[in-house]
């Protein structure tokens, strides 16, 4: 049978999403039954010029991970969109910006100053900095220009579906490949061994390919009374095993974060930090969790006449880093206002 064509590409990425694909282990051989991988820089030697030579829409599914933050990633994102039937935002960077999205709190200039001038180990008396065009004795060489702002994939091209997570869990990767392949051609149904999170029918365009419910639904920790008076940072207490971390005053983003990772972090005794992004009906992840948390802080104190909400709010030391750790570029905030 005619196999499908897949492409995997990375924008401003850490490479974790490529490893995540390998973490489907033997099921990668099932993927090879469904399709050929025509472009995957980490593992294969296809070059950009080879992609440019492909006919439009000849790639069935392109999985793009990493965010768009320079000319190169923007160019390849648009190129792959042109060459592909389905463009998938793979992983948190492409989906919502992820941790490098926190660079949106700064701009090129301040970061440049930090790295090339102020870093304690850098010796740079002449203040040299990398430049997009530079003359070497042999000619002029280029490196792509950097944008001030980290963007998600759908802020740059039309995205068909997103697979969330930093990185996505192998089971949702397999479920997504299974659903996409079966939709392109029924004959591919049933080839992938889907262990969990099976997608019965591919949802309408634009959807996130993971269950539409928060982490708490799957979390093995027992949830009881949520009356939080004191917030503990993870190094300040050893939590009681088996009990909800948020109940114990440790901030856990689980209530606002989409499930689909088998609650890996809670299984290791640590709280969810929100890498799977929000559910469909509460798209602004940071604000949803902030509201949920602050509604439950100091409930008993509220009735006292000397109730001071600041006493509780001040315990949250780094709100942006806590609530928008992965989702800043995709959120209503997007970035810090730049002075130009």
């Amino acid at each position: 049978m005619d196999k499908l064509k897949f492409a995997f590409y990375w924008g401003a990425s850490c490479g974790g999403c490529e490893v995540a694909v390998l973490d489907i282990d033997e099921r990668v051989l099932e993927v090879l039954q469904i399709g050929d991988i025509v472009f995957w820089p980490v593992a294969m030697d296809t070059k950009y010029k080879d992609v440019e030579a492909m006919p439009d829409k000849s790639i069935d599914v392109s999985f793009f991970n990493g965010s768009v933050r320079n000319d190169e990633s923007e160019h390849i994102a648009k190129l792959l969109r042109q060459k592909s039937k389905f463009m998938i935002a793979f992983g948190s960077c492409a989906h919502e910006g992820c941790i490098p999205g926190l660079a949106n709190l700064h701009d090129r200039e301040s970061i440049f100053k930090k790295v090339y001038k102020e870093s304690v180990s850098t010796v740079n008396p002449n203040g040299v900095t990398p430049q997009t065009h530079y003359h070497v004795p042999e000619g002029e060489i280029h490196i792509p220009a950097f944008h001030d702002t980290v963007k998600t994939l759908d802020q740059v091209v039309d995205v068909d579906y997103s697979i969330p997570g930093c990185p996505p869990n192998p089971d949702i990767i397999v479920a997504a490949i299974d659903a996409l392949a079966s939709t392109v051609d029924e004959k591919f149904a049933g080839i992938m061994t889907v262990n969990g999170y099976k997608i019965e029918t591919l949802p309408p365009k634009g959807a996130v390919l993971a269950p539409n419910r928060a982490q708490c639904f799957e979390c093995p920790l027992k949830k009881e009374d949520k009356r939080i008076d004191k917030i503990y940072r993870v190094y300040e207490k050893i939590p009681e095993p088996g009990k909800c971390l948020l109940d114990q005053g440790i901030i856990c983003m689980g209530p606002a974060t989409r499930m689909g990772c088998h609650t890996q972090c809670m299984n290791a005794g640590m709280p969810c930090t929100g890498c799977q992004g929000p559910v469909d009906q509460a798209e602004e992840l940071g604000a949803s969790m902030m509201t949920a948390l602050t509604s439950n802080i100091g409930l008993d104190d509220e009735k006292e006449s000397d109730y001071d909400p600041n006493k509780f709010i001040e315990q949250i030391k780094d709100p942006i880093g806590t609530f928008y750790m992965y989702s800043l570029p995709a959120s209503i905030l997007k970035r810090k206002v730049m002075k130009k």
Partner: protein
């Protein structure tokens, strides 16, 4: 002047391109290894909760997140003045060996081996893991996939997940092992020892048994005489998780051995205008440009360098292989860059043996995994060996335990000078009379591939607009006016 571009370079972690310039005679006048990526971690980590640094910095690299996770955790140990419990230290090192097993298997089989198993100038479409699978057969492919997965599963048992783990805490680790988990891990570790030995045999048969490859490895194009750096334990044996940093000179003599917190006395970074990563060098030798030799501060890290900088391996089977390699390649230190692939497999064996040693330790299932006696937040330095080299994290904390400033010197970047030189030398050595083809270009790429570069790590930084300063001087040379932008 003709110019050949390889864009993007492939079968490594990260983005890069190589520009090769040919003169009129068709010889290579120079080649530039450029890395275009940047993200800016050192800046946007400022103001973050200190205990989140293991989670934040590990996103520098999804291939070696564990290295950042533990370098960061150890930095927090020092910054909070807290010593992890013995059980925590063992568990951290055990999970770290899981990471090493997966990562070295990943590099050798998926990234580096295609050049040897399928052939360096085989058609591009076959020069990848799928070509390797076709060549070695599904049974071996299955073993490769299985053991790579073992490495991931071993580390995930403690970290929650293999990529971007969560368990590191100042003073300890968030999760321990119960007997069931320990028994499973023991099986995986023991199987990995066998697989590492199988891999060394494969290397022996396919690479060392092929004279063309041996000639390639020992050729000048791929040889460079630099300083070598790596972490060693008290017996100067290779240790990935902890120890002191040891540097040997190109002749193999110890040049310096320093504690993590002393790194600034020994390592400095140089900036080049045509690529984003910085270039670390030995401060006390100095930056002399992209040249090797004892007078140049350029140093190398990662498997070959680690073995060169040490006096041996701490586990018996790996030690035997270590001795064999130096015997075959003519003594210490070995300067042949491609021998890194061999050193990598010796390290794989060590990691598996070390994992067995730790997982069978009688205290490994103990539950005292956290020392809660933290002091006031201060400053700390944490160093581990990532698969790709020495990784240094350095943070200063505010009184609220937020990050005031962070400095990172990240593994691969220590090799940046060497990589640029290796690519240049390989291009010069391989391309003659203007003959350029896909196979030759791939062999130029092999020069960097041996280093198993992690360019996302190398380029955690983020630069900006070009700074410019114009100084107008009068007839006597005295500055009259200074104009500047973006300084």
């Amino acid at each position: 002047m003709k110019r050949v571009t390889i864009d993007p370079i492939t079968r490594l972690e990260g983005h890069g391109k190589i520009e090769i310039f040919l003169d009129d005679k068709g010889e290579v006048s120079n080649a530039y290894f450029q890395v275009p990526e940047l993200r800016g971690f050192e800046k946007f980590c400022e103001g973050r909760l200190a205990e989140r640094m293991p989670l934040l910095t590990e996103r520098i690299c999804g291939v070696c997140p564990w290295a950042h996770h533990y370098a960061s955790t150890k930095t927090l140990d020092m910054a909070f003045g807290v010593e992890p419990t013995d059980t925590a230290k063992k568990l951290r090192e055990l999970s770290y060996m899981g990471y090493y097993i997966y990562d070295h298997i990943l590099h050798f089989y998926f990234l580096g081996a295609p050049d040897f198993v399928v052939g360096p100038d085989a058609p591009a479409a076959e020069r990848n893991i799928f070509g390797v699978i076709n060549k070695v057969g599904l049974e071996i492919a299955g073993e490769v996939i299985k053991h790579r997965a073992y490495g991931q599963r071993m580390s995930a048992m403690l970290g929650g997940r293999a990529t971007h783990p969560v368990c590191g805490l100042p003073g300890g680790i968030s999760k321990g092992l119960n007997e069931e988990e320990r028994a499973t891990m023991e099986k995986m570790a023991k199987s990995s020892v066998d697989f590492a030995q199988f891999s060394l045999k494969l290397f022996n048969d396919i690479v060392l048994g092929n004279q063309t490859y041996v000639d390639l490895i020992t050729s000048d194009a791929y040889t460079m005489k630099t300083y070598y750096m790596g972490l060693v334990d008290d017996n100067n044996k290779v240790n990935f998780y902890d120890g002191k940093v040891r540097v040997v000179d190109p002749f193999g003599n110890e040049f310096v051995k320093f504690k993590p917190e002393e790194y600034l006395d020994h390592i400095a970074e140089h900036v080049m205008p045509w690529t984003y990563p910085k270039f670390p060098y030995l401060k006390n030798i100095g930056w002399k440009g992209l040249v090797d030799g004892p007078d140049s501060g350029i140093l190398r890290v990662a498997p070959l360098a680690r073995l060169n900088a040490s006096d041996g391996m701490a586990t018996p089977l790996a030690q035997a292989e270590y001795e064999r390699m130096y015997e075959v390649l003519g003594g210490k230190p070995v300067h042949h860059t491609l021998a890194t692939h061999w050193a990598r497999l010796i390290e794989l064996l060590y990691a598996a043996e070390k994992a067995v040693e730790l997982v069978t330790d009688e205290g490994i299932t103990d539950t005292d995994i956290r020392n809660m006696d933290l002091g006031e937040p201060g400053e700390g330095v944490g160093i581990v060996e990532a698969c790709r080299g020495t990784l240094i994290h350095h943070y200063k904390l505010t009184e609220d335990a937020l990050i005031e400033k962070a400095n990172l010197i990240v593994a691969t970047v220590n090799n940046m000078g060497a990589i640029c030189m290796s690519v240049r030398d390989a291009a010069k050595g391989l391309i003659h009379k203007g003959v350029v083809n896909d196979g030759l270009l791939n062999m130029v790429e092999m020069a960097f591939r041996a280093y198993d570069p992690c360019l996302s790590c190398a380029t955690h930084t983020l630069p900006g607009q070009m700074p410019l300063e114009i100084v107008i001087k009068d007839v006597k040379g005295k500055p009259v006016k200074r104009l500047s932008q973006n300084l």
